[in-house]
C-alpha cells in the first residue's frame, strides 16, 4: 500500500545500476576464477587457521575498544559545547584520510622502540609494543575508530537532544540521561558503527604490517598472509582472498541489513 508516485527515475536508477555492477563484478570474478577444491585444503593448513584465528581475535578486540572509547567520544562530539569542537572533530577524522602505511609510520613514531611514548615506556617498564598481537589491535583500532565515531556521532544527534532536556526535568543527571535515554535510543547506530569498525579491521593491512610486523601466529593476519603468498604463489593468494571474502559475507549476512541501515529504530 504505497502512494502512486511512479517508478524510480532513470537518472537515478541507471547510475545506481552501474554502481552495483562496479561493486559486484570484481567479487563475482574472484568467486568464479578461484579453484574451489583448493579451498578446503588450504583452510586445513596451520598457517591459514592461525591467520584466521588472529584476524578474528584482533577484529573482535578492535570492536570492543571502539565501543569503550569511541562511544564516549562520539557523545562528546554530539552533545558537548566548547570552543575547538570543530577542530577536534576534524582531527579525529584524519586517520581516515591517511594512507594506511602512513598511519603505521605514525604509530611507530609514537609507540615504536624509539618512539615518543614507546622509548620511555621501554626504558621504564621494559614494555615493547611493535611485533606483538597488541600492536595489531592498536593499529586496527587507530584506523577503525574514526569510522566508528562518525557513525555513532550521527546516531547520537538523531537520538535527539530534546530527550536530554525531558530527562533532566525528570531529575536525571547527564550520566543517568546517557545510560537510560541517549544510549538506548542510539543502539542501531552503535551496531552500525561496530559493523563498520569490524569490517575495516578485517581488511586492514598497511598500518598493521608497518607497525606490528608480519609473523605467523603473532601478527600475521589474513590480509598479511594473502600478501605474503602473493609474492610466491598468486593462486594461493586468490584462494585465501576468497576465504576472507566468504567469512565477511557470512558475518555481514548474519547481521542482515538491520544494523547496516542507519536510522532504523528498535
Amino acid at each position: 500500500m504505497r502512494p502512486l508516485l511512479g517508478r524510480a527515475p532513470a537518472w537515478l536508477a541507471l547510475p545506481a545500476a552501474v554502481a552495483v555492477v562496479f561493486l559486484v563484478v570484481p567479487l563475482l570474478a574472484l568467486l568464479l576464477q578461484t579453484p574451489w577444491r583448493d579451498l578446503l585444503d588450504l583452510v586445513g593448513t596451520a598457517e591459514v587457521r592461525d591467520a584466521l584465528r588472529l584476524t578474528a581475535l584482533t577484529s573482535a578486540c578492535t570492536v570492543v575498544l571502539c565501543l569503550l572509547f569511541g562511544t564516549p567520544l562520539a557523545w562528546v562530539l554530539a552533545r558537548a559545547r566548547f570552543r575547538g569542537l570543530a577542530a577536534l572533530r576534524a582531527l579525529i577524522v584524519v586517520p581516515l584520510v591517511l594512507p594506511p602505511v602512513v598511519a603505521g609510520v605514525a604509530l611507530l613514531a609514537a609507540l615504536g622502540r624509539r618512539g615518543l611514548v614507546g622509548e620511555p615506556l621501554a626504558e621504564a617498564f621494559g614494555v615493547r609494543i611493535p611485533y606483538t598481537t597488541a600492536a595489531v589491535v592498536i593499529a586496527h583500532t587507530f584506523v577503525a575508530l574514526p569510522f566508528f565515531v562518525l557513525a555513532v556521532e550521527g546516531a547520537f544527534r538523531t537520538a535527539g537532544a530534546e530527550f536530554d532536556t525531558v530527562a533532566a526535568t525528570l531529575g536525571a543527571d547527564r550520566w543517568t540521561t546517557f545510560r537510560r535515554v541517549t544510549l538506548p535510543l542510539a543502539l542501531p547506530g552503535l551496531a552500525a558503527g561496530c559493523a563498520l569498525a569490524w569490517a575495516r579491521s578485517l581488511g586492514e593491512f598497511g598500518a598493521t604490517i608497518t607497525f606490528a610486523g608480519n609473523y605467523p601466529g603473532a601478527t600475521r593476519t589474513m590480509p598479511s598472509l594473502i600478501y605474503t603468498e602473493l609474492q610466491g604463489d598468486p593462486e594461493v593468494a586468490r584462494t585465501l582472498s576468497l576465504i576472507l571474502l566468504l567469512v565477511s559475507i557470512l558475518v555481514l549476512g548474519a547481521l542482515r541489513d538491520r544494523w547496516l541501515r542507519p536510522g532504523v529504530g528498535g
Binding site: L108, R113, T210
Partner: protein, 256 residues
C-alpha cells in the same frame, strides 16, 4: 585580416594553436621516446644512475623506472603491463614471467648479490656474529619467505646455527632496511647492495655461506615492448663495461 575572420574561425584557430604542442608531445615519433623498465627494488640506485646516463647519451629519450618486489613485477609483466624491460632479483621470478610468455628471447644474468646481516650504525644490541641473533631480547627482521631475500635468509640463518625466529617478515628489502635504520629492529637480513646504499646508517655483519648462495639477477626484454631497438640499447648499456662499473660500485658482485 584577423578582423575579417568570423568569431567561430578565430576560436578554432586558437584551439588548434593550443593543441598543437600537446598533440606533438603525445606519441610524436621524432620528438620523444619512452622506455619503461621494471626493476627489483634492490636495483633502485644503480638503475636510476644508468637511466640518467642513457638519457644523457640519447637525445629525446625518456627512461621510466618502476621499482617493486620481483614477484610483483613479474606478475605485472605476465599480465601484459605496458613495459619494455624486466630486471629481477632472482631467476625464479624471471622464470615465472618467462613461463607466462612475457620474455622476449632469453634472459641474461647481469649481476649477483650477496645476502648480509645489517645492524644500525650504533649497533645497540652489540651484534658481532650471526649467532648473536639468538641472544635474549634481540629483535631481527627478514623478508617474507616468498621473496628472494627471504628465501636466502630462511636458508642461511638456520645453516649458521640461528634458532630464534625473526620478529617479523617484511614485504621487501627496503622495509627491512627501514626497520633497521629506524631502530625498530636490532638487525635484518638484506643484500650487500642495500647496505652500501644505506651508507653510514648501517654496518654489516658477515653471513656465513652467503658467498656460496649468491643471488643471480637476470634482465630481459619483454614481448610487449613497443621500442625493441631502443630497449635493446638500454639492455646493452647494463651489460656493458660502464654498466658493470656502476653495479660494482653499488656492491653488486660479478657474474660468476
Amino acid at each position: 585580416m584577423i578582423a575579417a575572420m568570423s568569431r567561430k574561425n578565430l576560436g578554432i584557430a586558437l584551439a588548434l594553436l593550443a593543441l598543437g604542442p600537446l598533440l606533438s608531445a603525445c606519441g610524436g615519433e621524432e620528438d620523444q621516446q619512452t622506455i619503461t623498465v621494471l626493476a627489483a627494488a634492490s636495483l633502485t640506485d644503480t638503475f636510476e644512475q644508468l637511466a640518467a646516463d642513457f638519457e644523457a647519451s640519447h637525445e629525446g629519450v625518456d627512461v621510466r623506472l618502476a621499482f617493486d618486489s620481483s614477484a610483483t613485477l613479474a606478475a605485472q609483466a605476465a599480465e601484459g603491463a605496458d613495459a619494455d624491460i624486466l630486471a629481477t632479483a632472482d631467476t625464479t621470478t624471471m622464470g615465472e614471467a618467462s613461463d607466462a610468455g612475457a620474455v622476449r628471447g632469453e634472459a641474461t644474468v647481469f649481476a649477483t648479490n650477496t645476502a648480509t646481516l645489517v645492524v644500525p650504525a650504533d649497533n645497540p644490541a652489540d651484534i658481532t656474529t650471526v649467532t648473536d641473533l639468538d641472544r635474549d631480547g634481540v629483535v631481527y627482521v627478514v623478508c617474507v619467505e616468498t621473496a628472494p631475500c627471504g628465501k636466502a635468509a630462511a636458508a642461511l640463518l638456520p645453516a649458521a646455527g640461528v634458532t630464534a625466529p625473526p620478529a617479523s617478515e617484511e614485504v621487501d628489502v627496503k622495509a627491512v632496511l627501514a626497520k633497521v635504520t629506524s631502530g625498530e629492529a636490532d638487525a635484518g637480513v638484506t643484500y650487500v647492495t642495500d647496505a652500501v646504499a644505506a651508507g653510514d646508517a648501517v654496518r654489516t655483519v658477515e653471513l656465513p655461506g652467503a658467498e656460496d648462495a649468491r643471488q643471480e639477477y637476470p634482465i630481459a626484454l619483454l614481448t610487449q615492448t613497443a621500442e625493441p631497438d631502443l630497449a635493446q640499447e638500454f639492455l646493452d648499456l647494463v651489460l656493458s663495461e660502464q654498466g658493470r662499473q656502476v653495479l660494482a660500485d653499488a656492491g653488486f658482485g660479478p657474474v660468476a
